[in-house]
Each structure stands twice: as structure tokens, then as C-alpha cells.
């Protein structure tokens, strides 16, 4: 720090201005300033610059996020309710599967109803009517709306809700769990499990292992998790299976519900069959007393079905007998010469169904052919798009009103596009796998199923946050609820239009989903950290 050209350099003048010079130096500079207008000019300029910097740095040009100023209030915490709601959903599911559905099944056997709740809902309820245009709307909105209303109502009831809600949810689960949990026999195969012929399990049987073979009888339900499952014995309850190959050769008095690569059914099932499979085969000797609901890649039905058939399939070969209606959606339907369908047959697919001459049909097949990809020439296509926009907008509004702080946080998190997309890709593919693994840990069955439901809701919600983010980029950040709604509406409309672009539309859709999913997960993480600050 020296004099230059008879003046003090800028550093020295700045240190003088900021009172950082030692006393000796201070006196020297003061004396010089008194007689040097150039150095005084520099001092004033630097002083003005300091003030200029302070004003610029202190300016409150953008709003502080509301959650940052209000987060510490415990009553703003939603997580307790969300956890309680998840627990309650687990409890409701258990109640439904443990009490309501069996009751309906008994009523069904007595002739009061037709099939179980699910098949009634799918086949004859109002839910099914108008399915074409309302499908997406109905897939997500009821669950999300009910959940949101539930959370909102409960929030209004108790101010200090977290412990109460948690206990309430836990109690509900505890009440719902015991009937199935108390009377159960559990086996982990090492590595495989076999119930030998002649042996009998008097309760429900839950088994997991590399290979599971059931040659004996099970008085209750059979729940299996295994790559290879063979059931030759008599199951007096339901079969619930998760695995790769599941073969049922023994009689089943209840229902069969499976999630697997391949299901082969060669025996009698007194009630209903529901399958999510790569391939489903109903052998010639197989008979199903109730209905069949299947989501399957390829299927062959050679046996006898007493009730209705609902199939979402790639290919379906129908050679057996069907006592009720057939409602088939898929790529190809082949009705063989030995087939007999006593009710109405509807087919919606890409190719004309093949019907052999010998096939006996109560009425001609009602065929609706659809072209691959969207039909841009039809008004219905655009009306459908408007409906989908409306559904997502309503759902977005719910989120916006119920969780405004979290909503803003999730939208802000979407700025981290790279991290969000990476995390979203991971979650999109890993979550179902983890949920199935959680299901295998027997206690976690309810948790796993609830997890999958939450996953489905999260995938739908993902677009909401990306739409709002996009709206923010287009319209800027305006304070208040009005601009927030406008951003949501505009953003969703743009997203919907982008999804309709030929060829690249689905890629956009996938991108928005993974991006939003990642942003949602990151926002949850950030919120939990905030809550840790608030509640610590």
C-alpha cells in the first residue's frame, strides 16, 4: 500500500474509509486527505460505492418463500396427517380384503350378488360406463380427492393433530390386522418349501422361497412369494401369489389373484380369478365359478368360466366356455371352434377378431377397431385431451390449496432439472421393485400396497409441478393464489399440447413424469428437513 504519483492508492483509501488502518497510518492518510482533493474525491467515490452496494444487497426484490417464515409452527406440519392417512389406507385395505370382500363372496355364493366387488365394479357398475373418456379421470381422482379431503377434514378437527393422527392410524391398522395376522402359518423356504401330500395347514399359509410346492391341503388362504409355485393340493381359501411361474393344479374354493410372469390354471376355482401376468393359460380341465379379470400379455382360455371375462391383453385365444359376457381389449382376439360364449361379447382392439366357424356365440361380437396412435382427425380426441387437462387441473388445484407451501417448494425444486430427472428415473423404476420386496416381508404387505398406491398418485402429481414450473417460466413469479392458478392452468395446457405432438409426445410425457417425480421426492426431502428444524 503505497503512494502512487503523490497520492494514496485505492486500497489504502478503502482501508481508511473502513477504519482498518493502524493509528500511525491513519494520521498520515488524514493529513494527506486534508490537502489533496484528488484523494478526497476517491474517498467520496468509494464511500458512495459502499452505500450503493449496501442498498443493492439489502433490496427485498423477491418474496421470501412462505414456508421459510412460517415453518416452525408445528400446526403447519402435514406429515403427521400424511403418515396417518397412509396407515389408515393400509387399514382400510386390510378391512376390505379381510371382511368386506369375503362377505360379498359369501353373498355371491348365496345368489345375492354377482362376483366380487372388483368385478362388479368393472362389469356392471356405473364406473364402467363411459370408461372410454373418463378412464384417466377416474383412475386417479377418486383416490386422490378422497385422500386430500380426508387430510383436510382431519386438519380442521384437531389443531395438535400429529400424535393423535398417528395413534389413530396405528390403532386403525392394529384393529384391522389381527384377524388375518393371528391365524397364520408362516414359512420361509431354505431355499425351497414343500407342503407334502397328506399334510394339512389348518390356518392361512404364507410361504416364501426359491420353489414352493403345495401338495397338501390349506384350510385358509395361501399367500406365496416365489419364482416358482406349484399348487397341487386343495386350497379352501384364496390364493394370493407373487412370483415368476405359478401353476395351480389343485382345487381352490376361493379366489385366485396373482402377479407373475406366467399363470397356468388346470383345476377348478370356485370363485374368481384375477391376474396381472405376462401369460395366462386356463387349461381344458380348468373351471372358474366366477369371473376372470386379466391384465396379460398373451392368454389362452381353454377351460370353462361361469361368469364374465374382462381382459386387457395382447393376444387372446378363446377356446373354452364362457357363461357370461366377454369384454376384451387388446391387440388380437381369436375365438376357436370349440369356444362358446353365452353372453355379449365386446372387443376393442387393433385387428378384426378371428372367429372360427364352429364357435358358438350368443350374439355377434361388438367390435370397435382403433388405429394405432392418436386419431388427430376426430373431435373426440381433442375433447378427451380437454378432459384430461381438466382432471389434472382439478388435482393440481387440490394440491395447491391443501399444501401451498409444499407446492411452492416442489415447483422451486423443479429448477434442479438434472438432479430431479436423475432421481425421477431411479424412482420410476426402483419403486415398484422395492414395493414388491416390501410385500414379501410379510408384515410389509399393507405397506407395500399402500406404497404402490402412493407411487401411482405421485406419478400423476409429477406433471402438476412441472406444469407450474413451466407456467412460472412463461408468466413470471407473481404473488398470490390467482397467478399461481393461472400458472398451473397455462402450464398444464402447454404440457398437454406437447404430449399430443406426434412421435415425440410420449417422450415428453415420460420426461415430465420423471422430472416431476424427482422434484417431488426432493421437495419431500427438503420439507422433512424443514420440519426437523421446526419440531426439533
Amino acid at each position: 500500500m503505497n503512494r502512487t504519483d503523490g497520492h494514496f492508492d485505492e486500497v489504502t483509501v478503502l482501508l481508511y474509509l473502513e477504519h482498518q488502518l493502524d493509528p500511525g497510518r491513519l494520521s498520515e492518510v488524514s493529513a494527506h486527505l486534508a490537502g489533496c482533493s484528488a484523494c478526497r474525491g476517491l474517498l467520496h467515490a468509494l464511500e458512495g460505492e459502499s452505500l450503493w452496494l449496501r442498498e443493492a444487497l439489502a433490496a427485498e426484490e423477491e418474496a421470501v418463500p412462505s414456508y421459510l417464515t412460517s415453518a416452525p409452527q408445528r400446526s403447519n406440519t402435514h406429515w403427521g396427517w400424511i403418515a396417518a392417512f397412509a396407515l389408515a389406507m393400509g387399514g382400510v385395505y386390510t378391512l376390505w380384503s379381510g371382511f368386506i370382500q369375503p362377505w360379498y363372496a359369501e353373498a355371491s355364493q348365496a345368489g345375492f350378488t354377482q362376483g366380487n366387488l372388483m368385478t362388479m365394479l368393472f362389469f356392471s357398475g356405473a364406473f364402467w360406463k363411459g370408461w372410454d373418456s373418463m378412464r384417466t379421470l377416474m383412475e386417479f381422482l377418486p383416490l386422490a380427492t378422497l385422500g386430500a379431503i380426508g387430510v383436510w377434514v382431519l386438519r380442521k378437527q384437531w389443531r395438535h393433530f400429529t400424535p393423535v393422527a398417528f395413534v389413530m392410524g396405528a390403532v386403525l391398522c392394529a384393529l384391522a390386522m389381527p384377524p388375518s395376522a393371528m391365524a397364520v402359518e408362516v414359512h420361509h423356504g431354505d431355499p425351497s418349501y414343500t407342503l407334502s401330500a397328506g399334510q394339512e395347514v389348518k390356518t392361512d399359509l404364507i410361504a416364501a422361497g426359491e420353489r414352493i410346492r403345495i401338495d397338501g391341503d390349506v384350510d385358509g388362504d395361501l399367500i406365496v412369494f416365489s419364482p416358482s409355485v406349484t399348487v397341487n393340493g386343495h386350497v379352501k381359501g384364496d390364493i394370493l401369489g407373487f412370483g415368476q411361474e405359478i401353476q395351480v393344479n389343485g382345487p381352490v374354493d376361493g379366489n385366485v389373484r396373482v402377479w407373475c410372469q406366467s399363470l397356468s390354471l388346470n383345476s377348478s376355482v370356485a370363485k374368481n380369478v384375477m391376474s396381472w401376468t405376462g401369460r395366462t393359460e386356463l387349461g381344458e380341465k380348468a373351471s372358474v365359478g366366477g369371473t376372470i379379470t386379466m391384465f396379460s400379455g398373451a392368454s389362452e382360455l381353454d377351460g370353462r368360466v361361469g361368469g364374465d371375462l374382462l381382459a386387457y391383453v395382447g393376444d387372446l385365444d378363446l377356446n373354452g366356455t364362457l357363461g357370461g359376457d366377454a369384454n376384451v381389449r387388446g391387440d388380437r382376439l381369436t375365438v376357436g371352434s370349440t369356444a362358446e360364449i353365452m353372453g355379449q361379447t365386446k372387443f376393442r382392439g387393433r385387428r378384426q377378431p378371428q372367429v372360427s366357424e364352429g364357435a358358438k356365440l350368443a350374439s355377434p361380437i361388438d367390435v370397435t377397431l382403433r388405429k394405432p396412435g392418436p386419431n388427430y382427425g376426430q373431435i373426440a380426441y381433442y375433447w378427451h385431451a380437454v378432459l384430461l387437462w381438466g382432471a389434472s387441473f382439478l388435482f393440481g388445484l387440490l394440491l395447491l390449496f391443501l399444501f401451498p407451501a409444499f407446492f411452492a417448494r416442489a415447483v422451486s425444486t423443479a429448477n434442479k432439472a438434472g438432479v430431479s430427472i436423475g432421481l425421477g428415473i431411479l424412482l420410476l423404476f426402483a419403486t415398484p421393485i422395492v414395493a414388491v420386496i416390501v410385500c414379501i416381508t410379510i408384515v410389509g404387505l399393507g405397506v407395500g400396497i399402500v406404497g404402490l398406491l402412493v407411487y401411482a398418485i405421485a406419478i400423476y402429481a409429477a406433471q402438476i409441478f412441472i406444469a407450474s414450473w413451466l407456467g412460472e417460466k412463461m408468466m413470471g413469479i407473481g404473488a398470490g393464489i390467482g397467478p399461481a392458478i393461472a400458472r398451473l392452468a397455462i402450464g398444464l395446457a402447454v404440457l398437454r399440447v406437447l404430449r399430443m405432438v406426434p412421435y415425440v409426445g410420449p417422450i415428453f410425457g415420460l420426461l415430465f413424469t420423471v422430472w416431476g417425480l424427482g422434484a417431488l421426492a426432493l421437495a419431500i426431502h427438503r420439507s422433512m428437513r424443514t420440519q426437523a428444524v421446526a419440531a426439533a
Binding site: 486500497v11 482498518q20 467515490a45 458512495g48 459502499s50 421459510l68 427438503r526 428437513r529
Partner: protein
Amino acid sequence: MDERKTTGTMSEADLARLLSQVRAGDADAWGELYRQYAAAIFRFCRRVLPAREDAEDATTEIFMKVRQKLGTYDSSRPFTAWLYKVASNHCWDTLRRRRIRQDLETGDLDTLPLEHPDPSQIERLQAEHTSKEVRAGLAKLPDRARMALALRYYADMSYDEIADTLGVRRAFVGVLLLRARHQLRDALTQGGAFAALKASAGGKS
């Protein structure tokens, strides 16, 4: 009276009472403390970190640290000084972890010309640029320069505190601040002296 930025108008006595309540585990008092200072800390973070969401996260994390470390706070010193110390350490650590510090290391005084600039140029710059433009210019500065200016002119930190936070010798804080001012002037005039300075320093900055 400590003049550092806060959003509240709390007296020293009220603040002392509030802090003692927080230390005693009073959740409502903690909420009040948070509300008093969260906005100011968020703005500080917004000035020194590259993105808004980084500032939001940092604010949350800073208050987590404040909560944890409140027991170490010496009540004979201004609370805001301590709070900004925690905040600046956190932000500086964040930048350092990300390895996006691009500015010069300490002690390179030779890259700063010992000149006597024309005061009228500095004053014209002030007259020609709005606060918004200054903030946009600040965002273009290297992290340490931006951090130094925010610590000094937003958080009102002393040279000792700045030296401690940024890990430089106290004697270089003035140089650091002056260099930051030069960089800001050049950012606002798009090129000029700082660009020439970089060239003469062999592109070290």
C-alpha cells in the same frame, strides 16, 4: 445496537429473553426466533449462493445448525453477528464442497494494480446502474468476491470475521474487497480493466 439485517424490530432485552426461552426448549420461542431471522438469512443466502432453491435449502440447514449450536453462542456478543457467522460458514462450505470456487487464492496482491482511479468513473457507474443491475453483476462474480461483498455490505461483518470465514489473512481482506469491487465494476461495464487484469495475471482468475 447491532445493525445487521433482520426482519424483526425486537429489542435487545426481548431478544435475550427469547434466546433464553429457546435454550430452555420452548418450541414457540424457537418459532418466533426463526420468524424474526429466516427472511434475512434467506436473502443473505440468496446473495451468495447461485440458485434460489440452494438459498432455500441453505436457510433451512443454517437454522438446523443454529438450533444445534445455540449452546455455544456467547451472549455477550451480538446474536446477529453469531448468526451470520454460522450462515456464512455454511454457505462458504456449500460452495467449497461443490468445488465451484473459481477465484484467486490469497495473497496475490500483485494482480491488483496500485493505482489511483478516476473517482468520476466510479461515480458515473453508480449513477448509471440500478440496484437490480448491481445484483445481476454480483451474480457474475467469482464466489469469493461475491461472498466478501455480501459479508461486508449485507451482513456487516468485521474484517476479522470475514478473514475467519473465508480462510484468508486479515491483512488481505481489504484487498479482497477492493478486487471484488473492481470485478463488479468490470462486470457492469462488460470487460475493461478487469479483463485486462486477468490477461496480465495469465488467466489465473
